[in-house]
Amino acid sequence: MVNAGKHLMTGLGVLLLSAILAVSCYAMDYPDEVEIDSLANLYEAVVFDHAMHVDATENCSECHHHTTGSGVANDYCAKCHDGKEEMDSVACQDCHSADPVSPENLHNPKPGYSYHNDQPNLKAAYHLNCVGCHQEVDGPTGCEDCHAKTEAGEKFYHSGEFAPKESAHSSGH
């Protein structure tokens, strides 16, 4: 469980959940695979098996809030949305900013969206969603269970070929 979240990393650019994802899953017209490939930096791209996740979940709303027209899972969202209507934006990145920490994430991003404040950024939206569920259903939770470290990643973590020479020495005092 220690590995629970070796995860995506800093300095990533935009996570491209390809535009295909925008297509409604209600109509069952969704991509079978999505390559999340912008993590060129510390981790390799992730090939996300969308079809498998569609099969594994009961409802699109488990990941897509109220946007797919298949109902609402979250009580808080349900206060305003009945989830019966499909939205224009379904892709994660349409709402979740790729900017890791922008003030817009804090305040409501667009006028009229006053309850959409305190949104996680895109990287966190993925991880919070994926890892949260994976923990419940015993899915993989280790960082490298989903994406392999690049050389830059190993350097960053001082691991692999960049591991400290005498790792016996403890880091405390």
């Binding site: 469980m1 808080y76 305190d118 991880h127 890892v131 960053f156 973590y157 001082h158 405390g172 005092h173």
Partner: protein
């Protein structure tokens, strides 16, 4: 307003101790003031989100150009490390560390990132006798190592056991601690490296007062998820980094007995007597002297013998 007055008073009263003997420059007294900054930045740390990946540790190491760690940052055996019966703490080589805490009620452990909390009225700052610390308007508590004498009083004072000391440096040992990435990021309005690196957005960066609202909102929006307390809202006068958690804070290793008032308030009583002693004592004791020696010669017995002896 009253706050400022009180602080000025404290600084002035302590300074008074020296003024009577050899007043240093006026500027020095001003240097003792440490008003909180209403628009200061802060970080909301949501402990429910942390998965213990230690990415933030790696990011800090890189950003602050710290020495190579003893173990890789993706080595999770560090969570089992125990030093003197304690979990890991910040050191001069690691400004932030993540610890794991087993909880009473749930299987899932809780991970907690530890770094300087950038207090509103920092104990480290007020205890420093060369005024090396500074609370910047941006909210960071930074530190000028060029004046550090190495008395380590700030380490005694910090209620969170944060500052560390480079004991092994011969010529230039100094205090080391998290500086909110002030030089490289905060100054330009950018979030700290650790905040940016976190895959779970455990940390949310923004104005302290905005974040405080969000913290309470998150607690309210998710009934049953969080304990109803924002650690750092009031503790020791409020901290720039503060925490919300699903487990009681003592189970996550927080000191829940800290006073709500700033640490410096403890010292207030003492500092307040300083000017009193300085003004009353001389009069009092000179008075005693005059009374006690009244009717007797004011000179000293042996003085006379010396006057006579002077001729030798």
């Amino acid at each position: 307003m009253s706050k400022i007055t009180r602080r000025k008073f404290l600084a002035a009263s302590a300074a008074g101790g020296t003024a009577i003997m050899m007043a240093p420059t006026k500027k020095a007294f001003a240097a003792g003031s440490f008003e909180g900054f209403p628009d200061g930045m802060g970080v909301l740390v949501d402990l429910t989100r942390c998965v213990g990946c230690r990415t933030c540790e790696a990011a800090c190491n890189k950003e602050q150009q710290l020495p190579e760690p003893a173990k890789p940052f993706d080595d999770y055996s560090v969570f089992d490390e125990i030093h003197h019966g304690q979990k890991r703490r910040t050191t001069d080589k690691a400004y932030t560390i993540v610890n794991r805490y087993e909880l009473k009620d749930t299987e899932e452990p809780l991970y907690r990132k530890i770094q300087c909390n950038h207090c509103n009225e920092p104990a480290c700052l007020t205890s420093c006798f060369v005024n090396a610390y500074k609370k910047t308007p941006e909210g960071a508590v930074i530190y000028d190592s060029h004046v550090c004498v190495g008395c380590r009083n700030c380490m005694i004072a910090c209620p969170f056991h944060i500052p560390a000391y480079t004991y092994h440096s011969v010529l230039n040992p100094v205090i080391k601690k998290c500086i909110f990435c002030y030089d490289t990021r905060l100054k330009e309005g950018k979030p700290p490296a650790c905040v940016e690196s976190c895959p779970q957005q455990v940390m949310t960066f923004g104005k302290r007062k905005d974040l405080m609202k969000i913290a309470h909102e998150r607690i309210k929006k998710n009934p049953g998820k969080y304990v109803d307390h924002v650690y750092g809202e009031k503790e020791v006068g409020g901290t720039g980094w503060f925490y919300i958690s699903n487990a009681p804070f003592e189970e996550a290793g927080f000191d829940v007995h800290l006073p709500k008032k700033p640490i410096i308030d403890n010292v207030k009583d003492f500092l307040a007597i300083v000017p009193v002693v300085l003004t009353v004592w001389p009069a009092l004791f000179t008075g005693f002297h005059l009374l006690a020696t009244k009717g007797k010669s004011h000179g000293h017995g042996d003085d006379h013998s010396h006057d006579e002896q002077g001729g030798h």
